[in-house]
């Protein structure tokens, strides 16, 4: 066995051992990646929340004067979800997106605020965030942001062909 071949063999053995160790270690300390079906389930659950949020966003029943969030915030625009938490003059403090959602429901829409941890509130946030996917998270600036441009449809993957 010449020197060069020996070196190559040694490197290969060391590499295999290292990989084996990593595999054993990772098997002990972390879970396997999600299977395709598992990952799909998770995305479906998120999209169901987005759809629920979309329905609520356009539902005047959250308020009492006929207005829905969508009146002023079509496609989630000007809700600026990627800028929260921030100081908001209407809240008079540094607040969160869900506090602002409740402010809008209570003040311009004259409705009852949602429980902050309710599935409905989480769905509203899911919709607002989804309509801004890909937009950089950044501290608030003195401007209104449009959401992600939408050509047609609800603006997110949705098997339901109905409007609502």
């Amino acid at each position: 066995m010449n020197n060069r071949r020996f070196k190559t063999l040694t490197t290969a053995v060391v590499a295999v051992c290292t990989l084996a160790t990593m595999f054993v270690v990772s098997n002990v300390q972390a879970k396997k990646p999600f299977s395709g079906a598992e990952a799909e389930d998770q995305v479906n659950m998120l999209m169901a929340a987005v759809k629920r949020g979309d329905d609520l966003w356009h539902n005047p029943k959250l308020g009492t004067n006929g207005l829905a969030c969508g009146n002023c915030h079509p496609d989630g625009s000007a809700s600026n979800p990627h800028t929260w938490p921030k100081y908001q003059t209407n809240l008079g403090k540094v607040g969160t997106l869900r506090e602002m959602i409740n402010w809008c429901i209570s003040v311009p829409m004259l409705g009852k605020p949602l429980a902050p941890d309710s599935d409905d509130m989480i769905a509203m946030e899911a919709y607002a965030m989804y309509t801004h996917r890909g937009v950089a998270i950044a501290p608030a600036k003195d401007e209104q942001h449009g959401a992600v441009p939408v050509v047609s449809g609800p603006g997110y993957p949705n098997a339901d062909s109905g409007n609502r």
Partner: protein, 338 residues
């Protein structure tokens, strides 16, 4: 044989590369028109300067003492207080929110407090519960024209869509509900459709190219953000019919914001509502300096207003946005040339 539509004809002409024929038939330039006796036409141009006011997009609900009632009242009072008093008022559509007759009756009652005559066009919110029946009963024709001090003024219904409800078996209430949403998923693009195009063609046929033209539609006559129907699908046909004129001023409701564009001989200005403001859609504005400021959601009058438009001798127009709160940057406050 089915009559060839204007859209098909335009498409065919363009595809065939018959640009010269197209231009000759639909788009005589100012110079070519002058060559055909435009000097005589130019001598016809006589405008006595005047002003008029515009209100739009009140979105009244059938709820007693709704906050939007008071804002429309404020708009009417503002117009009545203008000096010089406007000769007339134009109303740009969406008087009601859900197409109910009660909303339109309430709106008419408020508009009837205007001291000057007004002309009105429908918006989609006025229309899709009964396909405009109540609106027509109260206000008459959906498209019209009249002459004032030398200016030919046109109003058209730009919110017509193809039938999306019959196949889907929607009730009138469901149909209206979908149209009420700006980002309606299945309502399709709005337009004025063939009958009104034929009417427009006849309406302006005998007018000389030097005639000053003012046109009002609910939606813009240019592709701004089709997703929200910030467009009129047959605007290219309208622009082709109006291309023979030296200058056309266009105003439109629906966008609830300050916005401006200029295409060929047409300058367009978007108008403020008296209900709620809309954010700018996620596209670049053609004239980014002509816009309104960020709106304070805690100030229910911010983003709203009325308009006083002045028309001078040589058909120079200025839109004075009269914002009810501190909304306008200095350049827009000074008036937007139309």
């Amino acid at each position: 044989m089915r009559k060839i539509s204007r859209r098909q004809f335009l498409g065919v002409s363009l595809k065939a590369g018959a640009a010269t024929m197209f231009a000759g038939m639909f788009a005589p330039t100012a110079t070519s028109v002058m060559g055909l006796g435009g000097i005589a036409h130019a001598a016809d141009k006589k405008i006595s300067p005047f002003t008029f006011a515009v209100l739009t997009d009140a979105h009244l609900y059938d709820i007693p003492d709704h906050k939007f009632d008071a804002i429309l009242e404020k708009g009417v009072a503002d117009v009545n207080s203008l000096s010089p008093a406007p000769d007339f008022v134009l109303y740009g559509g969406d008087l009601g929110q859900s197409g109910k007759e009660a909303e339109l009756v309430k709106g008419k009652k408020i508009l009837d407090k205007l001291k000057m005559p007004y002309k009105i066009i429908p918006g989609e919110h006025d229309y899709y519960l009964d396909m405009g029946k109540a609106w027509r009963g109260l206000f008459g024709d959906e498209h019209w024209s009249f002459d004032h001090n030398g200016v030919h003024i046109i109003g058209m219904n730009s919110i017509l869509v193809d039938d999306f409800w019959t196949m889907a078996e929607l009730t009138p209430l469901e149909r209206m509900g979908r149209m009420e949403e700006l980002e309606c998923h299945q309502c399709g693009l709005w337009g004025v459709h063939e009958k009104q195009l034929d009417w427009l063609e006849k309406d302006v046929k005998k007018l000389s190219p030097s005639t000053p033209i003012m046109i009002m539609t609910h939606s813009p006559l240019w592709d701004y953000y089709p997703r929200w129907n910030f467009q009129t699908s047959d605007a290219p046909e309208i622009r082709a019919i109006l291309r023979k004129f030296d200058k056309v001023m266009a105003i439109h409701g629906h966008v609830h914001q300050v916005v401006y564009n200029s295409i060929g001989n047409i300058n367009s200005a978007g108008l403020l509502s008296t209900s709620w403001p809309w954010p700018y859609p996620p596209v670049e504005l053609p004239y980014p300096d002509i816009r309104m400021n960020r709106v304070d959601p805690g100030d229910f009058e911010d983003g709203l207003g009325s308009h006083h438009i002045a028309i001078a001798k040589e058909f120079d127009g200025v839109v004075n946005y009269r914002a009810f709160s501190d909304l306008l940057p200095e350049n827009v406050k000074r008036g937007v040339k139309l």
